[in-house]
Amino acid sequence: MFSTILEQIVNGIVTGSVYAIVAVGMTMIFGVLRAINFAHGEYYMLGTFGAWFSIDYLGLSYEASIVVGVLSTIVIAYVVGKLVMQRMVGAPAESGVLATLGIALVLQNTVILVFGGGYKFFADGYIEPVSILGFSLAQQRILILVVCLLVFVGLELMVTYSRMGKSMRAVSQNVDCCEVVGIDVPQVVLRTFILGAALAALSGVLTAPVNVSVYGGMGELITFKTLPIIIMGGLGNVRGTFFAAMILGVAESLVATYVGLQFRDTVGFATLILMLMWRPHGLFSTQARF
C-alpha cells in the first residue's frame, strides 16, 4: 500500500516536472507582458515536431533531435516575438488574449497542413525501464526530472544575478521606470518570450519518447494544464510555479489511481476554479503582484 502511494507520488512528480518546465516560461512571459500566452502549448508541440521530423526524415539521433527541436522553435519564436509579442508592450489585456489565441490557431493548423492531422509515432529516446525503490520507471522519466531541477536552479540564478534576469524583474515591476533608466523593454520582452518558448519545446522533446504520439493538437491540453499551475504559483513567480506544478502532478496521479483515470483532467480545472475563487494571487504570495 505504502509503496503504491510512493510510486504514484513519483509518477506525479515526473508529470509535474513536465508541467513545470512549460509553465515557468508562461509565467515569465506573463511577468513582462501582463498577458497570458495562450499559444504556449504550441511551442511544446513545435519542439516535439522538430525532434520527430529530424529523427524520421533526417535520420538524426535522439540527442541531436533535442537540439533541432529546441533550435527550430527558437527561430519560430523569434519571428513571432518580433512580429507580435513586442507589439503587445503596453497594449490592453484583451489584445494579448486575441493575439496569442490567433497564433495558437495559426501554428497548430500550419503543422496539421504540412504534416497531416494524424498521430505520428515518436520511436526514439531512452525508454528502457530501470528499477528504483521497488518499481520500474523509464530512464527518460529520470532524465525529465533531472532536467527540470537543472532548469529551475538555472532560472533562479539567472533571475537573481544576471543582467537579463534583473531587467526581467524590473520590466515586470514597472515598465515606465525601465524606460527612464534605459532598459530596452521590447528587447527584454523578446528574450523572455524566446526563453519561455524554448523551455516549452525542451519539455516537449523530453516527453515525446514516453508519450509516444505526436500530433498537431497536442499543445492545447498542455496550455490548459499550465493555466491552473501559473495561477497557483502566483503569476510571474518562478519558484511558486515549480511547487504548484508538482502539487498538480501529484494530485492528478493520485486521483487517477484512487478515483479513476477519467477524472484526471478534472483536477486541473477544479484547482483553477478554486484558486480563482479564494486565492487569485496564488498559494505563495500574500497579496496580488499585479
Partner: protein, 397 residues
C-alpha cells in the same frame, strides 16, 4: 421624400436579388438531367482520430475510382464530398448540415465515432438523406433505426454487443481468464462495449477488478497500469482508440506488465506499427474486429493489394468498411434502377450483397448481419481464430 426613395430602392433591389437567386436554381434543374450521384463522407479528418478519417476517405475514394472507371452506376458517375467531423458530435452535425445544404448530397456515409453517428442520425432523418454508417459499433445506433425509429439510417458494421460477447467468451473459454481489469476510452463506444461485456461476463464466471476510462488524448497510463499490476488482473479489457494502443503498450513494458497481463478487446492491436511499438506487451493480445488485412478471402486479399499499391500503406479496418459500404451503396442504387433516395432505401432493405467477408442482408432495424472476426497476436503477427455471427436481441419497446 428621402424615406420613399429608399423604400423604392429596397423594392427594386429585392426584385433584382430574387431574380438573380432564381437563375442558379433554374440552371440547377437543368443540371439534374445528367446527374451524378452525390455522396458525402463524414469522417474525422483532424483531431485525435484523424488517422481513422484518412483511412476512411482513402477506402471510399478507391471504391469510387473503380466504380467510375468501370462507367459508374448505370452510367452515372459518383461524385465524392468530404466533411470533417473532428470526431466530435458538434462538428459532426455541422459537417452533415454542410453536406446536405451546401453540397446537396443524396447519400451520406459516416462517422467512425459512435457518439458522432448518434448525433448525425436525426439530421439525416429530417433531411430525408440516406445515411449509411460503416464504422460505428454502438448498439443504440440501430436500436433506434428501421422499425426502431430512424427510417433513413442503415449500418453496415457489426455492433459492440456482438463484439463484447465474442471477446468475453474467447478470453474465458480458450484462454482461461477469470480476473479482468477495464481500461477503455471514455466515449459511447468504449462505455457501451464494457456495458455489454458486463452483461456476458457472469456467464463465463469472469469478474472485473477495476474499471477506468481514459479521455481522448490521454498519454499517461502509469497510475492505472500500476493499479492493475497490483490487483492481480489477468487481462485488461480495452475498447480503445488505435492511436492510444501503442502508448498503453509501451507503458505496460515500462511498468513491468508486458507478458504478464494480456490486452483483450479492440483498438487495432494487430497492425504492424502497433505491434512494433511494444512487441512483448502485445504478444497474445486478443482482438475482435469487423475486418483485418489478414482475412482470408480472395476479394479481401485483392482489396488489400489494390489499396497498398495505391496509397503505399496497408489498409486498416476503417479503409475496408468504407470501401465496402460505397460498393454496397452502388449495388443498391443499381438494384433500385434509379438514384431516387426512397427507391434506393427500399432496395437496401431487401439487398443480398456479396461482401468479401460473406453475404450481407439487413434486418428490420436496418442493421447488417455481419460476422466479427477474432484474432490473436502470435509471434508478432495476427492470427485469425474464427468469425462469429450472432443475431442481435433488440430490447423490447
Amino acid at each position: 421624400m428621402k424615406h420613399t426613395s429608399s423604400r423604392r430602392a429596397f423594392c427594386i433591389s429585392t426584385a433584382i436579388l430574387s431574380l438573380a437567386a432564381s437563375v442558379p436554381a433554374l440552371s440547377g434543374l437543368a443540371q439534374a438531367a445528367d446527374e451524378t450521384i452525390k455522396l458525402g463522407i463524414v469522417a474525422p479528418m483532424s483531431g485525435p482520430n484523424a488517422r481513422y478519417g484518412a483511412f476512411s476517405m482513402h477506402g471510399a475514394e478507391l471504391a469510387v475510382k473503380d466504380i467510375n472507371a468501370a462507367g459508374g452506376v448505370d452510367g452515372r458517375k459518383i461524385e465524392l464530398f468530404n466533411a470533417d467531423s473532428q470526431g466530435t458530435p458538434v462538428e459532426g452535425v455541422s459537417a452533415t448540415r454542410r453536406l446536405i445544404d451546401e453540397d446537396e448530397v443524396d447519400y451520406i456515409i459516416g462517422d467512425v465515432s459512435s457518439s458522432v453517428t448518434l448525433a448525425m442520425q436525426p439530421v439525416a432523418e429530417d433531411a430525408g438523406v440516406l445515411f449509411l454508417n460503416a464504422a460505428s459499433s454502438n448498439p443504440k445506433i440501430t436500436y433506434g433505426a428501421g422499425v426502431g425509429g430512424y427510417k433513413w439510417t442503415f449500418r453496415n458494421y457489426p455492433t459492440d454487443e456482438n463484439r463484447a460477447f465474442v471477446v468475453a467468451k474467447y478470453a474465458a473459454e480458450q484462454r482461461g481468464f477469470s480476473k479482468f481489469a477495464v481500461l477503455s476510452v471514455d466515449s459511447d463506444y468504449g462505455r457501451s462495449a464494457i456495458e455489454f461485456t458486463k452483461k456476458y461476463l457472469p456467464e463465463f464466471k469472469g469478474e472485473i477488478l477495476s474499471e477506468d476510462y481514459y479521455k481522448e488524448g490521454e498519454v499517461d497510463f502509469r497510475s492505472v497500469l500500476a493499479k492493475i499490476r497490483d490487483n492481480g488482473a489477468q487481462a485488461v479489457i480495452m475498447y480503445g482508440l488505435a492511436d492510444t494502443t501503442p502508448i498503453v503498450a509501451r507503458q505496460m513494458v515500462e511498468i513491468g506488465l508486458a507478458g504478464k497481463v494480456t490486452l483483450i478487446g479492440n483498438g487495432e492491436f494487430n497492425t504492424e506499427k502497433t505491434i512494433k511499438s511494444a512487441p512483448t506487451a502485445l504478444e497474445g493480445a486478443v482482438e475482435a474486429a469487423a475486418w483485418l488485412p489478414a482475412f482470408d478471402s480472395p476479394e479481401s486479399k485483392a482489396f488489400v493489394e489494390k489499396f497498398t499499391s495505391e496509397y503505399d500503406e496497408a489498409p486498416n479496418n476503417h479503409a475496408y468498411v468504407h470501401w465496402d459500404t460505397v460498393n454496397l451503396l452502388a449495388k443498391a442504387i443499381h438494384e433500385a434502377g434509379s438514384p431516387d433516395r426512397e427507391k434506393v432505401r427500399d432496395a437496401l432493405s431487401r439487398i443480398k450483397y456479396k461482401s468479401p467477408v460473406g453475404e450481407v442482408t439487413f434486418d428490420d432495424h436496418n442493421q447488417a448481419r455481419l460476422p466479427m472476426i477474432l484474432l490473436q497476436i502470435e509471434n508478432g503477427k495476427p492470427s485469425v481464430k474464427g468469425a462469429y455471427t450472432a443475431d442481435i436481441q433488440y430490447p423490447a419497446e
